[in-house]
């Protein structure tokens, strides 16, 4: 006796690399405001990344992770979420964070080695940046449980990288999301590299989306350099989750056009040809071409947008650079709800010391 179950994983995109539609477009494609918002976020993110790298080069922040080439993912996710939804980010999703309530000054503080960067009360329930890979995925399941438990119409979106899919945490999280039917959308930024480790030696699976099958939840692959596809399919998954339809795993296929971080030199391990080939697929130009092709954008608007973004960035950079240095005693002050007695003496020895690191 033999039986068989079959599964399938779909792959989607709306816009080709040249910005031309490939088949039917969603209503979103006509929504000029939405497209402008997406595009603005992508341009802002790219300029912010550039500026942050410059700050790192001059010692004004520490190691920094750019999202160059992957801006459509952050933009699409950020735009698809409602304010009351909750983001559980990795460390690379600058655009998504800028669509939320994270300010550039917050992010610079964080990369500048200051806990206050994740402290802004306006961030609400959004999670801080997560450095240990994929540890936030199970937390996302816990957050989604809480939202469901309280019957709130909110959805949790957890972002991770291709490398992050190799960690047991990820699998445990999608498995729990499935069995608990959680309002949770996982979005994988498959930028095809985990530092120097290429996607091809991270896992043998043909797609990362198919890992959803292990958890019995829907998985799909989208072109992560097509902002329309990201926005459309992520929004669809979010609304499914909001309506009680449970979790979805989305693999957004993109490419890391930058070094891993400012501490990395990608020329050690990947070829310039590969890099150049992927520049042809990058998301910002793609959306711009689409909008220009549809008379929804002009070079004049482009210049104005860049000017505005730069101004905003400089203002934020100034805020960051002007921020008060943190107090040495602050390392004690949020450790526990109340400082235990046994730590009073330790704390006391720091009272009055100025930060010598500034």
């Amino acid at each position: 006796m033999k039986q068989a179950i079959t599964f399938s994983v779909e792959s989607h995109r709306f816009l080709g690399p040249d910005g031309q539609p490939e088949g039917d477009l969603p209503p979103l494609a006509e929504d000029k405001d939405a497209l402008h918002a997406l595009y603005r976020n992508m341009v802002l993110t790219r300029l912010y990344d550039e500026r942050a790298i410059a700050l790192q080069r001059t010692g004004q922040i520490g190691t920094f992770a750019s999202s160059l080439g992957q801006e459509a993912i952050g933009a699409g996710v950020g735009h698809a979420m409602r304010p009351e939804d909750i983001i559980i980010p990795s460390f690379r999703e600058n655009g998504a964070l800028l669509f939320r309530r994270f300010r550039i000054r917050d992010l610079l503080l964080y990369w500048g080695g200051d806990e206050r960067g994740m402290a802004n009360p306006e961030l609400g329930d959004d999670f801080p940046i997560c450095v240990p890979i994929s540890t936030h995925t199970t937390q996302a399941a816990g957050v989604a449980f809480a939202v469901k438990y309280r019957k709130q119409p909110r959805v949790v979106v957890c972002l991770l990288g291709d490398g992050g899919t190799s960690k047991g945490d990820f699998y445990e999280a999608i498995n729990l999301a499935g069995i608990w039917h959680l309002p949770l959308v996982f979005v994988i930024n498959n930028n095809q590299w985990a530092i120097s480790v290429p996607r091809a030696i991270q896992t043998q699976s043909e797609t990362l989306a198919q890992k959803a099958i292990a958890a019995g939840i829907p998985g799909l692959q989208i072109d992560g350099n097509d902002a329309l596809a990201v926005r459309h399919y992520v929004a669809e998954a979010i609304e499914t989750a909001r309506n009680g339809g449970g979790p979805t795993l989305i693999e957004a296929l993109s490419y890391r056009l930058c070094h891993h971080t400012t501490a990395d030199d990608a020329t050690r391990y990947r070829s310039d040809e590969e890099l150049q080939a992927h520049w042809k697929l990058e998301p910002v130009a793609r959306l711009k071409r689409f909008m220009i092709g549809r008379d929804m954008w002009s070079e004049a608007q482009e210049s104005e947008l860049i000017r505005q973004c730069k101004e905003e960035i400089e203002q934020e950079v100034r805020h960051y650079l002007d921020s008060e240095p943190p107090k040495p005693t602050s390392m004690f002050d949020s450790l526990y709800a109340e400082l235990p007695d046994e730590l009073r003496a330790q704390r006391q020895s720091l009272v009055g010391k100025e930060s010598n690191n500034d």
Binding site: M118, D125, A141, G142, A146
Partner: protein, 326 residues
């Protein structure tokens, strides 16, 4: 008010607090219909339903991570790890996240969770079922570690742990889960999380212990009393933070100290107490501080566990050596 065991006191505290606090949920393996392998969660599912009493898939790392997420949202999750031998996959979440969430967001997000686990040896359990590695958690800033040693203290300390806004690792000495009964009043009153309990006042020597070993430590004190040695017995109870004031004050009076623990010796909680005494109480010491501990070996399988764990004789011997020191 009937007399109950330590594990029943745990159950009572869970019941009580779930009733009081609608934001409290419990999660873990086999905690639902089975009521936990030690029956600590028995009756909770029936009373509070499967929305608040969550049987999880078999993945401790996930249990801890999900609890962090729930707590970050302001729920009060109490997660059970079935045995301390299976707690190690939770360490990443506890060290990298639970202990830091408040600090790294400067209080914006907090982590009011409890990670409960039965711990320790002496019940002839299979391999990996007899661990005492509380020191690994006690080393981690931002965590609290609590160990009760009687039904009353289990009730009061667990209530406190659940209500405390910090992440708490709550370790239950399973060897004494059913060893003794006490009248525990279900009054919802919590105990402080930063204070030792002086179980027996004494003037000749200070004995510090926690968890199941207090049983042997108290027996030793009784035996020593018969031989004219008046030992003060202190239940540390809150392993982190440590209430050194009470210990220093006691050793200041007695001038002698023996610390008793089941765990392996090196870099353990007994080391920390001895080190603090050597820093802050050295001049009141009449004799070296002795530690009666498990050996620095893997906890043996059960045919030898009785040789591994300190017994009354070893404690008595260490006390006498300390008393005889001139």
């Amino acid at each position: 008010m009937t007399d109950i065991t330590l594990v029943e006191a745990v159950n009572l505290a869970l019941m009580r607090e779930m009733e009081r606090d609608p934001e409290m949920v419990v999660l873990g393996q086999d905690i639902g219909i089975n009521g936990g392998v030690f029956r600590a969660t028995v009756g909770l599912l029936e009373k509070f339903g499967s929305e608040r009493v969550l049987d999880t898939p078999l993945a401790e790392n996930m249990i801890a991570g999900a609890a962090v997420g729930m707590a970050a949202q302001g729920l009060h999750p109490v997660a059970e790890i079935q045995f301390m031998g299976f707690i190690y996959p939770t360490i990443d979440q506890m060290v990298s996240h639970a202990s830091r969430m408040r600090n790294r967001t400067r209080g914006r997000i907090t982590c009011p969770m409890v990670l409960r686990a039965p711990y320790g040896g002496g019940i002839h359990a299979p391999e990996h079922h007899s661990e005492s590695t509380e020191a690994m958690f006690a080393h981690i800033p931002g965590l609290r570690v609590v160990i009760p040693s009687s039904p009353t203290r289990a009730y009061g300390l667990l209530l406190a742990a659940i209500r405390n806004p910090d992440p708490v690792v709550f370790l239950e000495p399973k060897r004494i889960y059913r060893l003794m009964k006490q009248a525990v009043e279900d009054n919802g009153e919590e105990f402080p999380l930063d204070t030792c309990f002086v179980l027996r006042p004494g003037s000749d020597i200070t004995l510090v212990s926690w968890g199941a070993m207090l049983h042997e430590t108290q027996q030793a004190a009784e035996q020593l009393a018969g031989e004219g040695i008046d030992a003060e017995v202190i239940d540390l109870a809150t392993i982190k933070p440590i209430d050194m004031q009470t210990i220093l004050e006691s050793v200041g009076r007695t001038g002698r100290c023996v610390i008793v623990q089941e765990a392996a010796r090196t870099c353990s909680v007994s080391a920390e107490i001895a080190a603090r005494l050597a820093e802050e109480g050295l001049m009141s010491l009449f004799a070296p501080i002795r530690r009666v501990t498990g050996y620095d070996t893997v906890m043996p399988m059960f045919r030898l566990e009785g040789h591994y764990m300190p017994d009354t004789a070893r404690i008595v011997q260490a006390v006498k050596q300390t008393m005889e020191f001139a």
